[in-house]
């Protein structure tokens, strides 16, 4: 009994202490909190408040009546989406492309970062890094222009090599079977260099002592990479992987749109390009918001699943 009272007294004093210390904490770091206000306000205004706009997915939104005046239609827009005769094809395209991205592009950045890390001549390393970063700053429109001419079956560089080797020229952009590898390849070419930045930063923070110790024990460079660099990178890899999973259906609108044509849209069309065609060109805002919401919910569920799994197995997690 007595211990109970003592304990509850201790708790309440800890509570007051805690709240007092929260305020004193706030006051102590007031400058930091102050400068974080614009950021918080930014997220509130431009990220959180617009979330409420998603309710138009459940309305038949009319721009003249606004959110308050438009009639509610329940899940009609979602029904329309799932009943759409090409929905499964488009969703499959989207998922297959996303999986390709995770299987091929995601590890490519890690491998490239490991390779860059092994370069010893600083000048050479910088030059290579700059060259592999560069494509990231090109817009997709420019890349599609380059790709169309480089891969052209009549005048393109690639096909002239293929022809020299004695094969038939390939119409890369006009082949429904080649469009997926093409899209994934284009994405890899553009972004793989840029994605190495975070890995390189993480590698820079690995203590050199570890490598020295390993060298003394007779580990060669490959062994060092496997036993020191990679394990040290694991937290970063996990977090980036989880983020990637969260965006699984966000393959990127422009990345696909600029390459689509009549011959390849069968395997190339994704949700984003469909949303663009229906929503922006056809002004069906509610319908496309419903599709967008579906995408986000799928992303959220997968993110949560993978996060929980990762927490259980590796202890690393986003939240």
């Amino acid at each position: 009994m007595a211990t109970n009272i003592e304990r509850s007294a201790a708790i309440s004093s800890a509570k007051t202490k805690h709240s007092r210390s929260l305020w004193s904490q706030l006051w102590k770091y007031r400058a930091l909190y102050l400068i974080s206000i614009p950021g918080i306000v930014y997220f509130l205004i431009f990220r959180y408040i617009p979330l409420f706009g998603s309710v138009i997915a459940f309305q038949n939104y009319n721009i003249f009546k606004g959110i308050t005046g438009s009639p509610w239609v329940g899940f009609a827009n979602f029904e329309k989406m799932f009943n759409y005769h090409d929905f499964s094809r488009i969703l499959t395209n989207n998922i297959v492309l996303a999986l390709y991205d995770i299987i091929f592009v995601f590890p490519a950045a890690i491998i490239l970062a490991l390779l860059l890390n092994e370069l010893r001549i600083v000048l050479y390393k910088r030059i290579v890094q700059t060259i592999v970063y560069m494509p990231h700053f090109l817009s997709w429109v420019v890349i599609s222009g380059i790709a169309v001419s480089v891969f052209s079956p009549e005048t393109g560089l690639v096909n002239s090599v293929i022809a020299k080797l004695g094969f038939e020229p390939i119409y890369f952009l006009g082949d429904n079977n080649l469009i997926r590898p093409f899209l994934v390849g284009a994405g890899m070419w553009r972004d793989v260099g840029y994605s190495t930045i975070i890995y390189l930063a993480a590698m820079a923070s690995i203590s050199p002592d570890l490598y020295e110790a390993a060298q003394i024990d007779g580990a060669n460079r490959f062994k060092q990479t496997l036993t020191i660099t990679l394990p040290a990178l694991m937290p970063t890899i996990t977090i980036l992987f989880l983020l990637q999973i969260g965006q699984i259906l966000d393959f990127g609108f422009e990345r696909v749109w600029v390459f689509l044509n009549s011959l390849n849209s069968g395997n190339g069309e994704i949700l984003d390009t469909f949303i663009y065609r229906v929503g922006i060109l056809d002004m069906q805002y509610s319908y496309t918001t419903a599709i967008g919401l579906f995408k986000s919910v799928v992303g959220l569920i997968l993110l949560w699943l993978c996060n929980t799994l990762s927490k259980k197995t590796t202890g690393e997690s986003l939240f």
């Binding site: 721009i63 003249f64 079956p153 009549s262 011959l263």
Partner: protein
Amino acid sequence: MKKFILSLGIIMLAFSVLTACSGNSSSNNKQPATNEPAATQHTDSAEGNAEPTKFSISLRTLAVNYVENHVNINEDVWVKRLEELSNTDLDIKLIPHAEYEQKMAQMFAISDIPDVVQANGGVSGKELAGSVQAGLFMPLDEILQEYGQDLLKSIPESVWEYQKLDGQIYAIPDWLSNTSRRATVIRMDLLEKTGLPVPKTVDDYLNVLREFKKLGVEQPFQARENLKYSDVFFGTFDAYSYNTMFMEQDGQIVPKFFDVENMQNAIQTYQTMYNEGLISKEFATINPATYKNNILAGKAGIWNMNANEVLQWEQQLKETVPDAKLAVIASPTGTDGKGGNYLYSPMTRNFLINANVDKEKAIEIVKFFNWMVSEEATKFFTYGWEGETYTLNNGTINYKQPENADEVNLERYRTFWLWLVQDQTYVKGLMELTPEGQELMQVYDTILANEGRDGIKFEPRLEAFSDNPDISPLGDVPAPLIIDHIIKMIYGQEPISDWPNVIEEWKAKGGEAVIKEATERYNNNDGVFLPQK
């Protein structure tokens, strides 16, 4: 901490200085580059000193270089002159050409609507997003009767029909007296080399193209993605699949691609050209820029283009191929002896007045548009400003032809963009001045006026189309489902004999409802426009 506040202060100071500087420089740039406004002040008192009518107007830039590169179009010397002559004070709000529809929708969504809004020619187009039906604009019949008589007289009755909703006029349009805008153009110099006569039928055309191929022309017929601006052989067989192309078949109103034989003949023609290398093997990925570059580099022999640009393109082509000679020729004709590109709708822009504008102001605005078809306006927009773009010689006008790209851009801006209500077919006053211009006018009146394909169309568009974008066509692009099959058939990925199945697929994916709605509306004469030809 002190240090932090100090540096923050310094940064803010630096920013305010920077913005102040840039503010200065932009206000300097606002000054019109060409002329001082002093020269424009003489008409002010002539108008009887009435207060100029002040109103805001949204205008699409229409990819006119002069407009898109202008620092501030409201300070432009030509806008100032227009304001002086018409006794108005315009507040022009530009809408970027490429994002026109999105920006219009945004404008309606936030209810920031100018006094006058420019639309694409109709009153129920996508860009207006149903705003006329929602009562955002003013019916103009009464005011036009009283203050717009010149407009009513100049603009053809058929064009006014497009400006009506429930029998009332809602907009003031420009018009096209000749809606056959797209032409078939041939490299006359190459044709002369082959010794062949000017082609007429599809077979003639194919023969000429084959000869061109032998001469080493890379792409005898210039095709491009979605067959846009290269669709003339569909016209030969009267088989366009656009939103203006409905026809009657067995008591129903159906798209023209329901005619299996015509459609298969057209696709077959393209496949022949594809197989023989008369069109590029990769036309499915040739974009508009490549299309134009190929033509201007002399790599093409026959192509489709807008007739009003032929002289300019010929000029540019001559820079690479000095003896190049272009000619507009009659498009390939089919079994009915007709052919041609699809006909444009008979107007390109129109202007709606905000319902919130009070009546006096609306009257003044209508007067402003009425002035546009006056002699004074015609002279101003055609020839420009005395002493600058022309001189008067004993009462005859001596026009200074534009000599460089800037002057060409200026002329186009003045005669096309700034002249809001006019016959947009061609600028007659300028065409008459040169032999080439006269020749082109001749082409318009003899060749183009006699060709072109049109069909039954519906305004506002059929509701059933909005359920599935895949079956819904545009003005000059077939529905995605249709064009995908056409292209695949040309590439030999699907047999042409499959066309009936394509029609079935179109029907199954929502086309059935389209036919039903079209037939009903046709029978009730509800927003139906019959073929112009």
